[in-house]
Symmetry: C2
Subunit: 131 residues, 2 copies
DNA sequence: TGACAGGGACGAAATCTTTCGTATTTTCGA
DNA sequence: TCGAAAATACGAAAGATTTCGTCCCTGTCA
């Protein structure tokens, strides 16, 4: 039995924590707790426990030198997103990124700016491929 | 506390089952089992149990009139994909589909055909938006 | 210096997921 | 019609996840 792939997939609850930390850059348990409390009903120790578990799992880094300990995400949001995207890709899209993109786009209207940005990216990709 | 959104999110193992059924259109437990056996080690009753659970959850539909009962997916692959995509969107992308698309595209090269298809979709979207 | 408040570590209950073993029911030939 | 083989149902163990309650430090400030 081999280990799980390389990437660590945060669970749903862990994602909520990460979300808060990504927004705050770095944060104490209290800060994350207050941030999350605005959206969901959750206990303070629950948040703490998650952050401890996530630190063990390697999802978070903790600076214990300060008293209210400060946590940071071990991976950037973009890296994590890519990991989860790959997961979803293998899981439900048979590994076809094209399908995924198509679905994502057709899901709801993006802003003209976003569409433009995507076009640029497509151009860049085609350049790279042609060469 | 409201119920879970409308969409039903299949778990990872359930996705494997769905994958097989989507490919086969409709299938018996044995067929799904044989399909999955090629990739992973899994027991026959395990597959059966999952399919029963998934039927209860509403992920699958079962025709019990035939003897080796025949199962079908309750939702099309596309619908399910959209649901999971939305989930991921809310979970890790702060609801920004643009970011998701960008990440997905930059993840690995798509074929020129796919790129073309995406362009067409973008054009169509812009049309719709302008009107 | 002693009690209090804030912060943290632990352990454990409550739920979901994933996997099967075993028992029961059906179907099909001999 | 009887029984073996195939299908299906049931129940439950083993892991993960999610949530907290409780106990233990560590300063602080009267």
């Amino acid at each position: 039995m081999a280990r799980k792939k390389a990437g660590i997939r945060p669970t749903e609850a862990e994602c909520n924590i990460l979300d808060a930390i990504w927004k705050l850059q770095s944060a104490t348990v209290r800060e994350v707790f207050e941030h999350l409390s605005q959206r969901q009903s959750i206990g303070h120790t629950t948040v703490l426990k998650f952050m401890q578990i996530m630190t063990e799992k390697g999802l978070l880094l903790r600076d214990a030198s300060q008293r209210p300990q400060v946590y940071r995400a071990a991976q950037s949001q973009v890296e994590t997103q890519k990991g989860m995207l790959r997961s979803l890709l293998d899981q439900a899209f048979g590994g076809s990124p094209g399908d995924l993109v198509l679905q994502a786009l057709s899901m709801q209207k993006s802003s003209p700016e976003e569409i433009d940005e995507i076009r640029k990216l497509l151009d860049a990709m085609e350049e790279g491929t042609k060469k």
